[in-house]
């Protein structure tokens, strides 16, 4: 490959990505700490009390960003899966595998905080609302992906089978979302809607965005740490690890 064009695949090799990931982890970790701390401060102390929901609404500062992240991480996994199947890069599969537990954690967090919020607001831990149900199904999709990966011993097969499943899953997510939505509206009418009050105070939105960015940094830091472990596990016999990585 000539020097004039960018080598897009330079960091596709675990050997060159491993140190890069190592350099990026502290940055994202500190960013996550600072952003989440300021998000918590904005959410708990600066944001005004909600007129209708009083103090209980403050859980949305965790709930909404966690829901965003759980959906976004599945899309990122599908992106890496497509890349892995198209270019046959080893690192893509490792990235997908590293992201899955974090995505599942966010999906669970979103369901859990949703239940905690639902109890005082709606008087029930769980309703068969379209969004709740599709979030639950997303959580099942994460669990299926993790179960499939851990059932296959050969890492190459695990990566490629997981990639196929993630892609099929991402195609299905809109279908599932709309089917659940129509199922719900057809059955019970709009029982409980998650739609917020028409106008949200500015500082609430800011707090939520700061928290989302914090969760984002956290997800990156954790996924990079996990991908480093996966690289070490899989490449333990290779020369470059013996030379550089094991200090």
């Amino acid at each position: 490959m000539s020097n004039s064009i960018i080598n897009w695949f330079k960091y596709a090799s675990p050997a060159s990505f491993y140190p890069l990931a190592g350099r990026m982890i502290p940055w994202f970790s500190w960013l996550a700490v600072v952003l989440i701390a300021s998000g918590v401060w904005l959410g708990l102390f600066v944001a005004p009390t909600d007129a209708q929901q009083s103090e209980g609404y403050r859980i949305i500062f965790v709930h909404v960003p966690a829901s965003w992240m759980s959906m976004f991480i599945y899309c990122v996994m599908a992106f890496w899966s497509a890349l892995g199947l198209a270019f046959n890069t080893r690192l893509s599969g490792m990235m997908t595998a590293a992201l899955a537990p974090t995505g599942a954690m966010f999906a669970f967090l979103s369901l859990w905080t949703g239940a905690l919020w639902g109890k005082p607001m709606w008087g029930t831990w769980w309703v068969w609302d379209a969004r709740l149900t599709s979030q639950l199904i997303l959580f099942f999709l994460y669990l299926g992906f993790i179960a499939l990966q851990s059932a296959i011993d050969d890492p190459r097969r695990a990566d490629r089978a997981g990639a196929l499943l993630a892609l099929v899953g991402v195609v299905n997510i809109p279908v599932i979302y709309f089917s659940v939505q129509w199922w719900n509206t057809l059955h019970q009418g709009a029982s409980v809607s998650l739609t917020k009050a028409p106008s949200m105070a500015h500082v609430m939105l800011e707090g939520m965005l700061v928290m989302a960015l914090g969760f984002w940094s956290y997800a990156i830091a954790v996924a990079l740490t996990r991908v480093r472990c996966i690289i070490l596990e899989r490449e333990i016999t290779s020369e470059w690890i013996k030379r550089n990585a094991v200090e």
Binding site: A151, R156, A161, V168
Partner: protein, 221 residues
């Protein structure tokens, strides 16, 4: 196309010589749906209300029961590798196997469903609709399930893993299939549900043999 007919005929002959396999799936369907009234009580109005969902979930589970046998025996004796190596395109062979799976595991369920519907006190009009919705839905279950069977081929705990992978993907079929019958029971037109079910059927029958072949090649590597 030849490969499609060949795989279909082969799997049908094999299935007809091992009658116990598909009869087990059918009896499973009958028993599971018959257990439900024993669990929730014999009140006719309640049973009529839950009948579409119960019959659909029964169909879903009994389809799932036959899925591990879709590729596993052929994988064990090496036939599957020969299929993958043969000049006939693998998706055609897979399509034949999927149709055979539907004829063996899906169709008997569709034909048995009206009888079970009678047990749940469904009106005759809804029974017809139940058959139509299952007729559209069960091939869809076979098509999506084939992908799961291919992905879990030869794995530890394949059967349980298969259900974990596939059941979330069955949800749209369940919603529209059972929804069609429920809408009819409530006096609303079921056409919207059936159209959507048909649309999902067309898309998944078109893509499934292709994606399943990819999964099989990954498993055979």
């Amino acid at each position: 196309m030849n490969g499609f007919v060949m795989a279909l005929r082969r799997d049908m002959v094999l299935a007809l010589r091992h009658k116990s396999e598909w009869l087990t799936a059918l009896f499973f369907f009958v028993i599971v749906t018959n257990l439900l009234p024993l669990g929730v009580g014999p009140e006719a109005s309640l049973l009529r209300k839950i009948a579409p969902g119960v019959l659909w979930i029964g169909a879903l589970l009994s389809t799932l029961l036959g899925l591990p046998r879709l590729f596993a025996p052929d994988h064990a004796d090496g036939t599957l590798e020969q299929m993958a190596l043969s000049p006939i395109p693998l998706p055609w062979l897979v399509a034949g196997k999927i149709v055979a799976h539907w004829l063996v595991c899906g169709l008997p369920v569709v034909l048995m469903a009206p009888l079970l519907g009678l047990q749940f006190d469904l009106p005759v009009r809804s029974l017809g609709l139940l058959v139509v919705s299952l007729m559209l839905g069960t091939p869809l279950l076979s098509a999506i399930g084939a992908l799961g069977a291919a992905l879990t081929l030869g794995l530890r705990g394949g059967g349980a893993l298969l259900s974990l992978l596939i059941l979330p993907l069955y949800i749209p079929a369940l919603i529209f299939g059972a929804g069609a019958v429920e809408a009819d029971l409530a006096g609303i037109s079921a056409q919207g549900h059936l159209s959507l079910l048909g649309a999902i059927l067309v898309v998944s029958v078109f893509f499934s043999p292709w994606v399943t072949s990819m999964a099989l090649r990954i498993a055979l590597e």
